[in-house]
Structure formats: C-alpha cells, structure tokens
C-alpha cells in the first residue's frame, strides 16, 4: 500500500495550449511537465482525443476536458484514477456554480476567488471542502451587485464567521437553516441514449435519469419520497443522505436533505422494451459514383411521444471530408454548414404533426475524389416537457421532524442524450 498523495499540482490549459493558471499544493512543479501533455495533444490531432491519463518520467498527468478547457493534475504516486477524475470534475463544477460558466475568461476575471476556492478545496493535496453550500459560506460567490458594492465600500467577499455547516453533526447540512417560504422542488430529468440503425430499428437504447432537488426548508426536515412505480429503476446510485436500508426494504427514499441544490439519485432504465423512442427520421442520403454531387433528404416525425410536444430539436451531421458545400431547403427552422469542419447543423424547433419538418437539397462533392465509403450519422437533440419517458412518477412527498407545511413541486423533462441515427 502506497501513501496516497493525491494531487500535487493543477494546471489549467486552454485549447490553444496556453497554461493560464497553475496551483501547487506541495512543492512547485515546473510548467515544463505540461510538455508531455502537449505532446499527447499533438499526437491526438483532435483535442477531444487526448487520453485522460499520461505518464511522464517523474509524474502522472490525469486530466479532464471541460468546456474547451483542460484541467491537468500532476500526480506523483499511485492513486485511484476515478477518484482524481471525479475530483477534477468537482472543481470544474464549482467554477461553473460560482461564475455561471467554466470558461477561461470567467476564471481569469475571478482569478482571486479561484485561488481561494482551490485553497479551501484541497489542503496538502487532499480534498477538503467540496460541498457547494459549505464552500459558499467560506467564500462568497461574486455577483454583479456585490462587486459593485465591494468596489465602493471595499468590503470583502469572505465570510467573517465560520460556516455553521462546519459545526453540524450531519456533514451535508448546516445547522440553523431558516426560510420564510419553505419549498421543496424535484426535477426528474431523463436522457435517452440510443443508436438507431439505417432501417429505423433500435440497436441500443437506454434511459439515464436523475432526480435533482432544490430544497429550501427550515430546520432539520426529514423527507420521504415515494414513487408510483419504483421497480422501474434498474441501477440507482444515491446521495449519501439517503437511508439505503429503507430503500432496500420499502423502495422509499428517506433522507435529511442538504440545503439548496443537489442530486438526489441517478438511475438507469435499460431493459430495451421499456425505452420508448420519441422521434423517427426518414432519410435518403446518396452520393453518386464519379459525379460531383449527391442528394440529401431527411424528415423528422414523432413516434411514441405519449402525446407531448417534442421541441428544441437540433440535428447535427458530420459530413464526409469530400463534401465541399450543401445547398439545402428546410421546411422549417434554419440550417448552417461549416465547410471547414464539415458540420451541418439544422435547428428545427418543434414538431407539428400536421406538417413534418424536412431538409432536402444537393450536396457538392470534391470532383475526382472517390465517393464516401459510408453515409454520415445524424446526431439528434430534443426535449419533451412534462414527461419522464420511462413512465416514472412521484407518488408523494412527506415531511417529518418539522411543523410547518412546505410548498412541494415535481417537474419532469425528457431530453436526448447521445441519440444517434445511422444512415
């Protein structure tokens, strides 16, 4: 067993290869260690393909890629890789949470807060405070108003008192929470990952669901959430606050919630007959042999949508390299084709069943080049409000331990995850 010395240093690198921030928790590691990372980046051609674990003669680099930024951590000894990757994502999540976006500009603008956060999140290379609500008491997030006020009064954005959560016996909830309006909201969000083959039959489909909660309740409420059909859920992972035994025996989620926003559970529904596919695509894409043009024609229609409107539809297609340009006409929405990246994007909007949206026209090919081996795959995004496609329904929410009557709400939404149609 080797001493776990976790994260030694962290470098933030943008897509053009500039190291724009570094932080060292133990000794300073020279920037030159990132050369190994750049080497791998060069080899990978596309930034998306840089492997997450790279070894160098003295260190290991474990990196994540988020919002066009690389978070590269320097590790000196054997570590559990998933642990480090998870932690790096937590750092990125925290930036997102604090600054509204996790971008180079936001990080540079708030560089001082970034350092304060990194200092609190890790000490001596070990993860410390990472719960958003506890961090926010240690370091207040910037708001436009506050930065104006601060600049006038010169007051600080640091809590002057110790966060109360630090003293509570339940690590995820601070003591003495008070609200005038007591509310508990749950969002059931389901994403469909699917691969549909040429003929329209499902090769693979699965639902990844989460229940995100926003709890603003005073005191120490003890909640029980039950479902109409809990047996739907295949693999469930729980927030640490949930009493596992109770779920095992009664299929009820019983917990003292953290204060504010958090993810209550995530689950999968993978038995294929349970996964409804809400859209279908009719397509005909053809490239003629020895000709400099081809035809492109796709139509989208609703299928198994449980009577709800499908909206926010976007179709993205990576066209083959030999495609020079595309001349298309959409019946609704607008499309763009980038001749450099060869990406076709069609912003469809919503489907009205009376007139199905379609996009058709001509494809200009590089003359003389052999016709593409394979037709491109279509990547589809969509959204259905008020529906959990798995059929999951919350039955009731009960609260114990407090006297007041909270306002309760549940929202459902279904989205496309990695939804791919092969042509």
């Amino acid at each position: 067993m080797v001493v776990m010395k976790m994260i030694h240093s962290l470098f933030l690198i943008n897509c053009s290869g500039d190291i724009f921030l570094e932080k060292h928790w133990k000794s300073v590691v020279s920037q030159s260690v990132c050369d190994y990372f750049f080497e791998a980046q060069e080899k990978a051609a596309d930034v998306e393909n840089v492997p997450p674990v790279i070894s160098t003669p003295h260190h290991y680099l474990i990196s994540i890629y988020r919002d066009k930024l690389f978070f590269v951590s320097v590790i000196q000894t054997e570590v559990p890789p998933l642990f480090v990757i998870e932690f790096l994502h937590r750092v990125a999540d925290t930036f997102q949470d604090y600054f509204g976006e996790c971008s180079e500009a936001a990080i540079k603008d708030n560089v001082v807060i970034v350092y304060e956060l990194l200092e609190e999140m890790l000490d001596n290379g070990f993860p410390l405070a990472t719960e958003s609500n506890i961090l926010k008491e240690l370091i207040k997030p910037p708001t436009i108003l506050r930065s104006v006020v601060n600049s006038i009064t010169g007051s600080s954005n640091v809590g002057d008192t110790l966060p109360t959560g630090q003293l509570s016996n339940i690590p995820w909830r601070r003591a003495g929470v008070k609200y005038t309006n007591n509310e508990a909201y749950f969002d059931v969000v389901e994403e469909i990952d699917a691969i549909i083959d040429k003929s329209g039959s499902t090769v693979f489909a699965e639902i990844q669901g989460v229940i995100d909660a926003c709890i603003k309740l005073s005191g120490m409420p003890d909640l029980s959430l039950s479902f109409m059909n809990p047996r739907l859920l295949d693999d469930v992972s729980f927030h640490p606050c949930i009493r596992f035994k109770r779920w095992e025996s009664e299929r009820v989620l019983s917990f003292i919630p953290p204060d504010g926003n958090f993810r209550l559970i995530s689950y999968r529904v993978s038995s294929q007959n349970l996964v409804a596919i809400p859209v279908y695509v009719k397509h005909s894409i053809s490239f003629k042999e020895n000709s400099s043009c081809g035809r492109f024609d796709i139509t989208i229609g609703p299928k198994q949508n449980m009577g709800k409107t499908i909206e926010g539809i976007t179709v993205t297609v990576h066209m083959p390299k030999v495609v020079l340009n595309m001349n298309l006409t959409p019946t609704q929405g607008s499309y763009t084709f980038d001749p450099v990246t060869k990406v076709l994007t069609w912003d469809v909007g919503k489907i009205t069943p009376q007139k199905l949206p379609s996009l058709k026209g001509l494809v200009n090919l590089q003359s003389g080049a052999p016709k593409p081996e394979e037709n491109p795959s279509l990547n589809i995004q969509f959204k259905i409000q008020q529906l959990a496609i798995s059929g999951l329904k919350v039955n009731r929410l009960d609260m114990y331990g407090e006297k007041y009557k909270p306002f309760k709400g549940v929202k459902y939404v279904t989205k496309a995850g990695k939804f791919q149609v092969r042509t």
Binding site: M1, V3, K5, D18, I19, F20, D46, E48, N49, V53, S55, P57, H58, I62, T77, E78, P80, L82, F83, E86, F87, H89, V111, V112, Y115, E116, E119, D123, F126, P127, L128, E131, G154, V158, D160, T161, L162, Q166, L167, N169, I170, P171, I195, V203, E206, D235, S237, F238, P240, F244, I265, R268, P320, K321, E373, E374, S377, N379, K418, Q420
Partner: protein, 739 residues
C-alpha cells in the same frame, strides 16, 4: 506566460506598493496586491516585491491577508530571510478570535516551504490541535504532516503521533480523515498508519458521516486491516454493502476493491460483489464525464479477464457512438472483442464491421484487429468479413487485414484455404512495411496453394531496387526461398536475380548478409535448405499461450482501482521502475521503502520472471532504500552468513563501483572516500521474496584482496549463492576495468 516588459511591470507595482497614498486607500492597495497575484499566477516572477508584500500582511482586511499569504507561500523558499519577518504576523493571527483567520494563518504558516520555520510553527500547531473550531483542527492535523516533512523526515515525535491517534475519535469527520492522511505521512518509514481492530471498527462506524472523498480514502486505508475471524469479516462486508451503491464512482470502486481483498478466500463472495457492481460500473461507462467512462472501461476489461461472460448480455453498452473520443472507442472495441459469446457474436461482428470503414484510420484498424482477435474462436464468420473488407481496396484497411490473416493462419490452420483464396490482388493496395511483410510471408509459407504467388513475388523482386524498407527485403528473401522449395520451376530465375541483387548491390548489411547466407546454404544442397527452412506452418497451441485462461480474481484484486488497469500491467511496471530509478533517493522512493517495491513489481510479474527459463530465478528488486539507521540495527543483529575474499589491485573508485552496483539493484548505504585506508563500504539489497542481503566490503591497506562479508535476514543458502555470484561479477568487472 513571460512577455516583454515584465520588468517594467514589476518596477511599477513595487512603486505602487510603497506609495503611502495607495497604502492609505484600502481599496487601491488591495487592487495593487491583486495585480501582483494575477501576474504571479501567470508565471511571472514577482519575488522582488517580497518585502513590500510582507508589509501588506499586517492588515485587518481578510481578503488582503489571504492574498498576501498566498504570495508568501509561493515565494518563501526564494527569500527565506525575509519570510521570517512575515512569520510574526502569522503567529499573531494564529490566536485571532476569528477561527477563519486562525485557520488561514496556520495553514499558510505550515505551507511556507523553507528551512527554519519549524521552530515557529510547532506551538501554533499544538494549540491548533486543541482548538474548539473544527476548521482550525483540520488545518492543524495536516500541519503536523507538513511539519514532519520540514524536519527532514528523520525523527518521529511520539507524543504528536499519540495525539493524532487520539484525534481519530474527533467528532468532525474531516478531522478524522485528515488524521489518517497525516499519520500516514509521518509514519511512512514504519509502513504508515496502523489500522488495528478498534480503529478499523471506529472508522467503519463513521463511514456514513464522511464525504465521498473521505469515504474513498478510508476504504483504501481499511485494505490493510485483517479481520480476525470469518464472522468479523462478514460483519464488515455487511456494513460496507451500501457503499457499492454510492453515487460516487470513486467510492464504489474503493468499496469493490476492499470487498475483493477482504474476501480473497471466498471466491463466491468475490463473484457476487462483481455482479453487484455491474450496474454502477456500467453506469460509469456511460457517464457524462468521458474520463470516468474511460477509467471505468479499463476496469471492465480487467474484470473480463476473470469472468469472461460477465458483461456479455450488456454488449450493446459497448457499441461506439461516433461522437465519442478515440480513447473510449478503442477501449470499447477491446471490450467487445473480449465479451463475445455464441449468442451475441453475430451482432458484435456486424457492429465491428461498421467501424472498419470509419473515417479515422486508427479506429478502423483497431476494429479490424478486434475482428482478427474474435476470429480465433469464430473463424469462418470473421474471415468472411475480413475478405469482404479487402474488396474496398483501401490501403489502410487492406494492410491491416493482411496482417490479421498472417497472425490468424498461424493459430487457426483451418482458415488457410480461405485466406489463400483472398490474397491475390492485395498487393496493389499495400504500401507500408508491415503490410508488405505480412503479405510476403503469407505468399512464401502458403504459396503452393496460391496459383499466382510467384508472379506477385516477382513484382516485388522487380521493384526491389526502389524498396525502402530493409525488413521487406529480408522477408522477400526468405519467402522466395521457401516458395522455391515447393515451386522451383517458377521461382528459380527470380531467386537468382534477387540473390544477385542482395549480394552485389544491396547497401543494407543485414539484407546482404542474409542473401549471402542463403546463397551458401543453397550451395550445401537442397535437402539442407529444406531441413532448415521448412518449419511447421501453424501452431494452434500458441493460442493458449497468447490468451491465458481465465485469471483468478486474486491475481488482479490488488491492482483494482489503481492506475494499473489504465496502463496495462507490463507498461505500468516499466513506467514505475523508471520513476523509481530516476527519483533515486527522493520523495517517492523513501516514501515507503519496503512496501513500494512490492507494489510496483506485482506478484504476477515476479512469477513470470521466475518462470522464463533464460532469466535467473533470483531477482533483486529495485528501489530497496534502507535508512542508515535501519541498516545498522539489522547489521548488528545478524550473524555473518558468508565471507569471501576477492582479488583486488590498488585503490577503489567509489563512484564507479556505486554505479555498477546500482545497475544490479544493490544499493550503497555508506562508502569510504577514495583512497582512505582501510577502505570500507556497506551495501544492501533485497530479493523478490523480501529477503535482505547486507554486505560489508573491506579493503585493508597493503593487501591485494577485497574482503566481503554478507549477512542475510533469512537463511537461504541458494539465494545467498545467487547473490554472491551477482556481487562477484560486479566486483570482478570493476577490478578488470581498473587493471
């Protein structure tokens, strides 16, 4: 990001920091300090304003304090004399009424990486351990480890260690975890923090109160606890059960590993656990985070080594979506290749067939190799798909298909016929060295079944002058000679031409030698050529060697949830070795002198080394770093096991000797200077069974012999002899060089 004019920036900031008007205006002052930090974070050298920044630390503004602390921690090692000035302020802040300030000040003080700071931080740390605010205790506990590092890791403060052990019972969960981390570092010489029964059970009971990071780490610490009875073992497993369903993949993996290790004597429990984590693991494989997917996929592959059918019904989870990054696709293809069974083979092959025409040549080739792998079991279907691929006449596809064929006919002779049928025509679409070699090899070995084989080879012979790869020419020589044996009439003439070219015109020596060799062989007579060249054409038994049967879970359990599955074992061993060697005596190697060597060279690797007949059964492990104290203690407690005298002339060059010993993994503990009389050296080495060899070299003045005394921690004569022969070789060699 150094840029022009950086000196001006520093000068300007320095002036601003000294300006009393700015100092009086709190906001402007802080802004200047922020600019200093901003430049510092961009990698600009800001150390020259250290004095001014230290002054700025005397403030009530907590943000300004934080900024200055940050600055001091970065530059203190460069300006140790000035940093001591700052310590006064920090010391004062350590007794501030605001716990936040106390914590911050203490943390910054402990992070000042410079000599001499220990004496100032000791008292504040001890006070901090008893602080009523848990925030301060957390900082103080980790501070103990930092202080210990500053002391040069030498003596362990027993009282401090006891205090930390008692703080394991602290009510704040993070203090508890920090205690473990701190003790682990302080006690690394002794093998780290001891997890005895009361501590183990205490930690187990606190698990649910910890955050995910704490849980993951405690699970890792618990690995070193051995339950006393079967009953206790199962109690522990029951307690841990819910962590297999944690929302954090890190905790799930940590819990799985602990289960696997604790239940090492109960294979059915291990299998059961792997079934239970199937869900979470599959979820991680399709996680939003591509990096998590990757790491999870690597672990899936590891599990498949022991339970090949484990994920077979979920094979569709491993189908690639085109938008995924490469490293994930490649892992998925490997997984698909491993989980094929009778039920899913059709679908998996169809899917892989689709990848073979992917835009990315690398991915397409990986898919083809995967089909080649599956072909060992499902030969006919795969060979048919591969043959169809040849029809596409794409260079990058054809070359890999032919290479796959070459590897396949060797293992599965039943497909020779089909392969031979598919080969003609391939030569038009192969340009690279690997592909040509494979094709030529196939034509040479199986040419008697391919009607136009001599004519394809003839093309290669015609163009041999413009052939750029020597390896292809070598392959061509061998292939043509082989084919000549079965079809002499068609080959004789061009064989003559090829041999002439290779002997008379070829510039590459290896090719020329090979040509000459074959020429002379032919002079000996055709029977002799046959005897030498006609070896078996296939060997199905080799397949068993290549994919060893299902490995027991215990063979990889200790590697689970480490970087080993990500790298593959063999690569990991070399990387680690390299890290260890380059680090020499630095941090890594003395982090855990005994354990580290055991961990990096895994059990399995050791066995493999022992099995191979041409390497010795005796192996010294690298990185066996003993401290001088430990060496002395052990040396004095042991009897001399072996004494020997070797001839030696003149003086010793300690550097040369030390280096030579290093090569064979014998470490030098101490050595007299060159020329001293008598000259002495103390060496240590450890073999793969953990047996230590301690050695004294003694060179008496006016005595032309080196006296060697060896002591051994375990009395094993055989090992001792092996060790002596290694040592003799080194000393003999060095002696020879000198004389």
């Amino acid at each position: 990001m150094p840029y022009l004019g950086s000196e001006d920036v520093v000068k300007e900031l320095k002036k601003a920091l000294c300006n009393p008007h700015i100092q009086a205006d709190r906001l402007r002052y802080r802004n200047v300090i922020q600019r200093v930090i901003r430049h510092m974070t961009q990698g600009l050298d800001m150390s020259s304003v250290f004095m001014e920044m230290v002054k700025a630390s005397a403030t009530v503004d907590i943000v300004q304090k934080k900024l200055v602390y940050l600055y001091m921690c970065t530059y203190a090692p460069l300006k140790p004399d000035l940093a001591l000035l700052a310590i006064n302020t920090l010391c004062k802040d350590c007794s501030d009424p605001n716990p936040m300030v106390r914590g911050l000040a203490l943390r910054s003080m402990c992070s000042l990486r410079m000599p001499g700071v220990q004496e100032y931080i000791q008292q504040p740390i001890l006070n901090g351990l008893r602080d009523k605010a848990s925030y301060v205790r957390r900082v103080a506990v980790l501070g103990c480890a930092k202080m210990h590092n500053l002391h040069g890791d030498s003596e362990v403060d027993g009282a401090l260690v006891n205090e930390l052990y008692s703080l394991l019972r602290d009510q704040d969960p993070i203090v508890v975890v920090n205690c473990l981390r701190s003790l682990e570092e302080i006690l690394k010489q002794e093998g780290g923090v001891v997890i005895n029964k009361p501590i183990a059970h205490h930690l187990l009971n606190r698990m649910s109160k910890l955050d995910q990071w704490g849980q993951a780490e405690v699970l890792n610490f618990l690995l070193r606890y051995q339950p006393r009875s079967e009953e206790e073992l199962f109690d522990i497993l029951n307690l841990l059960d819910s962590f297999l369903k944690s929302s954090s993949p890190g905790v799930v993996m940590g819990a799985t590993k602990l289960f696997l290790i604790l239940a090492k004597k109960f294979p059915h429990v291990q299998t059961d656990v792997l079934v239970r984590v199937k869900g979470p693991l599959l979820a991680a494989c399709s996680s939003e985070s591509r990096e998590l997917c990757f790491a999870a996929l690597c672990h899936v592959r590891q599990i498949l080594h022991s339970l090949p059918g484990h994920f077979s019904s979920h094979y569709k989870k491993f189908f690639c979506s085109y938008s995924e990054p490469h490293y994930i696709k490649l892992q998925k293809v490997e997984v698909l290749c491993e989980l094929v069974n009778d039920e899913n083979v059709q679908q998996v092959l169809e899917e892989l067939r689709g990848y073979c025409t992917d835009v990315s040549a690398d991915f397409a080739q990986a898919a083809i190799f995967a089909i080649g792998g599956i072909a060992r079991t499902y030969t006919d279907q795969c060979v048919q798909i591969l043959t169809e691929l040849l029809g596409l006449r794409q260079e990058h596809i054809t070359t890999v298909v032919v290479q796959t064929f070459r590897d396949l006919v060797w293992l599965c002779p039943q497909c020779i016929e089909a392969v031979c049928h598919a080969l003609p025509g391939c030569e038009e679409n192969i340009q690279d060295s690997e592909g040509k070699q494979a094709l030529i090899w196939l034509l040479g070995v199986h040419g008697e079944r391919i009607p136009n084989a001599p004519y394809i080879l003839e093309d290669f012979v015609e163009n041999v002058k413009s052939e750029t790869f020597p390896a292809v020419k070598m392959e061509l020589l061998t292939a043509l000679l082989r084919l000549f044996l079965s079809r002499p009439a068609e080959c004789q003439d061009m064989l003559g031409r090829l041999l002439y070219y290779c002997i008379e015109e070829e510039k590459d020596m290896a090719v020329r030698d090979r040509g000459l060799f074959y020429y002379r062989l032919l002079l000996v007579g055709i029977d002799e050529v046959k005897r030498i060249l006609c070896s078996p054409k296939s060997d199905p038994s080799l397949g068993l060697l290549e994919d060893p049967a299902e490995r027991p879970v215990n063979s990889w359990a200790s590697d689970f949830n480490t970087l080993v599955p990500v790298y593959g074992k063999a690569r990991w061993a070399t990387i680690s070795k390299c890290v260890g060697a380059e680090h020499g005596g630095s941090e890594l190697s003395h982090a855990a002198p005994f354990t580290i060597s055991g961990h990096l060279i895994s059990e399995e690797n050791k066995e493999r080394v022992q099995e191979t007949p041409d390497s010795e059964a005796f192996m010294l492990v690298p990185n066996c770093q003993l401290t001088a104290e430990y060496f002395e203690k052990t040396w004095l407690s042991l009897e001399v096991a072996h004494q020997q005298v070797l001839p030696w002339q003149g003086e010793v060059h300690p550097d040369t000797l030390q280096m030579a010993l290093q090569v064979v993994n014998i470490q030098t503990i101490a050595m007299s200077r060159a020329g001293s009389q008598p000259w002495k050296a103390y060496l240590s080495a450890q073999d793969d069974t953990g047996c230590l060899f301690l050695t004294e070299l003694l060179l008496e003045p006016e005595n032309s012999a080196m006296q060697i005394s060896v002591k051994q921690t375990e009395a094993k004569t055989e090992k001792l002899n092996s060790f002596m022969s290694v040592l003799e070789t080194v000393i003999g060699t060095i002696g020879d060089i000198k004389s």
